[in-house]
């Protein structure tokens, strides 16, 4: 058991080292673009207000009536924040493919080394999964820190009277992306993570199917992906099927989705283990 943990930690640290450059870049880009957003967006607002007040010789109150008061949401809804967050999500999604395919790329087939390690092969799977999750949560953590600091910066740039008084949490709660990917509402955050984890397990299984059976495997994998989505979404359409919208409580449907996603997750793990142990091809 101790040996098992040791090699799993070793492998995870190893994978972490390999993702580090990419992850630092994502984090750096996020912080940099966010920072520009925190400064540029309120400055532009303040600039407009001042210019308007000067050229039209109106009071601040009148200017606010013209431009509206400034809220943190005005910052979070700009591309300065949306773009790096989207980049982070899509970057990690692509990396989830790359983290496997890199082992077979070029003339350096590191897959040989990994598959011949004297440790259970699922450890390769887990280490890759852990590292994706470490990256996801690093991005989330950095995004939260960035937003907290950003809120202060914005509050410092815009005169208090011009601010709408919206809190940071309020600004995030009405945000279409951050309310899901950041732990603002526990319901959305847990759902996103549950769906995310199941998605990753299915994605890894599809990759391993492709690695085991090549073209045929890709077909199988896509079929598997479609079937899992249908199964997971099935409870949502249950009321339509029984043509009775009061037969199930929302919480029951929710519970059913959770059970089905757990089944999908465990099935994916079992399939992956079988493929890694018996079917994978160098």
């Amino acid at each position: 058991m101790k040996q098992y943990m040791k090699s799993l930690l070793n492998l995870t640290a190893f994978e972490l080292d390999r993702i580090s450059k990419f992850l630092y870049t994502l984090l750096g880009v996020t912080l940099l673009l966010n920072l520009i957003g925190y400064i540029y967006t309120p400055m532009r607002y303040v600039g407009r207000m001042n210019e308007y007040m000067q050229t039209e010789s109106v009071t601040a109150q009148q200017a606010i009536e013209r431009f509206g008061s400034f809220s943190f949401y005005d910052v979070t809804s700009t591309l300065w924040l949306l773009a790096p967050a989207t980049l982070g999500i899509s970057g990690l999604l692509l990396y989830s493919l790359f983290i496997w395919y890199r082992e077979w790329m070029g003339k350096n087939t590191f897959a040989y080394r990994l598959l011949m390690l004297p440790v259970p092969r699922m450890q390769i799977f887990y280490s890759k999964l852990f590292v994706i999750y470490i990256a996801i949560f690093s991005l989330i953590a950095v995004q939260i820190i960035s937003l907290t600091i950003g809120f202060q910066i914005v509050s410092a740039i815009v005169p208090d009277d011009w601010l709408s008084g919206m809190t940071l949490v309020q600004a995030l709660n009405i945000h279409p992306l951050f309310t899901v990917i950041l732990p603002v509402s526990s319901f959305y955050f847990l759902s996103a993570n549950g769906i995310g984890l199941t998605f990753m397990l299915v994605l890894f299984t599809v990759i391993l199917l492709e690695r085991s059976y090549s073209f045929k495997g890709l077909g199988l994998g896509i079929a598997y992906g479609v079937v899992t989505v249908l199964i997971a979404a099935f409870p949502v359409f249950l009321p339509d099927l029984v043509q009775n919208y009061y037969f199930f409580y929302d919480s029951e449907i929710m519970a059913l989705i959770i059970v089905l996603m757990t089944v999908i997750g465990v099935t994916s793990l079992l399939i992956s283990r079988h493929l890694l142990n018996k079917k994978i091809t160098i």
């Binding site: 190893f14 087939t109 040989y112 390690l117 004297p118 440790v119 259970p120 018996k278 091809t281």
Partner: protein
């Protein structure tokens, strides 16, 4: 003993292995020879559980291969199996992290024997030196069986000579060694057993010295009969 029993393998419609059986004994150097085709590498991959076979079985001292046995049997493929941005030292440290049978002292000996610098990055090495690193990473394991895929392909003559020397050294002594090659010329006198593969089948399996003694034929003579006759 490694026992390969009746393995079959197909890539698409092409039958690559068509019922291949042979054994590899400890303390012997065996050579899998085939003039062309992908069969040889596929056999090694199959032994190492790196590709599934349709039929048949492989056992190592009676056991089917599970990951723990990678401490007992090592494979040196004809491709770099460390990371290009790693130094040789980092590659060795990586091995040390996972393999109980990693022998750091022997690794150091081999490093010296091959005149390699531990702090060179793999991507900066010549092809010959990369092949040597590959050998180093396999030979420094205290394993009982070593498989090597085409250890002499695509390298210069002096590297070849050095690698040949490995086979008569303590580095492989008492182990069971299986190498594949398509050109046997320089290594004939190093071999115990020769396994001739053709069209996915074992054509002939013989002891090289025994062949010389009883029929006065070199390994190449026998190959010539099989492949051109």
């Amino acid at each position: 003993m490694i026992e390969v029993k009746d393995i079959h393998k197909q890539f698409g419609r092409k039958k690559v292995l068509n019922g291949v059986s042979f054994t590899i004994e400890k303390g012997e150097i065996s050579c899998l020879v085939g003039v062309n085709g992908v069969g040889k590498t596929t056999i090694l991959n199959a032994i190492m559980n790196l590709t599934p076979v349709k039929k048949g079985s492989v056992t190592i001292d009676g056991e089917t291969l599970v990951p723990a046995l990678y401490n007992k049997i090592a494979f040196i493929p004809d491709a770099s199996i460390s990371l290009p941005h790693f130094t040789i030292q980092e590659s060795m440290d990586f091995m040390n992290d996972y393999y109980d049978t990693w022998n750091a002292r022997r690794a150091k000996d081999i490093l010296k024997f091959f005149r390699l610098n531990a702090y060179d990055k793999l991507r900066d090495l010549s092809k010959g030196n990369q092949a040597k690193v590959n050998l180093l990473l396999g030979l420094a394991l205290d394993v009982e069986y070593i498989l090597m895929d085409e250890p002499f392909s695509g390298i210069d003559i002096f590297t070849r000579e050095q690698i040949t020397e490995v086979f008569s050294s303590y580095l492989v002594e008492d182990r069971g060694v299986l190498i594949t090659t398509h050109e046997i010329n320089d290594i004939e006198h190093l071999l115990d057993k020769v396994i001739l593969l053709d069209e996915g089948k074992i054509y002939k399996e013989f002891n090289a010295e025994h062949m010389r003694e009883t029929e006065g034929k070199s390994v190449i003579d026998v190959m010539r009969e099989v492949y051109t006759g």
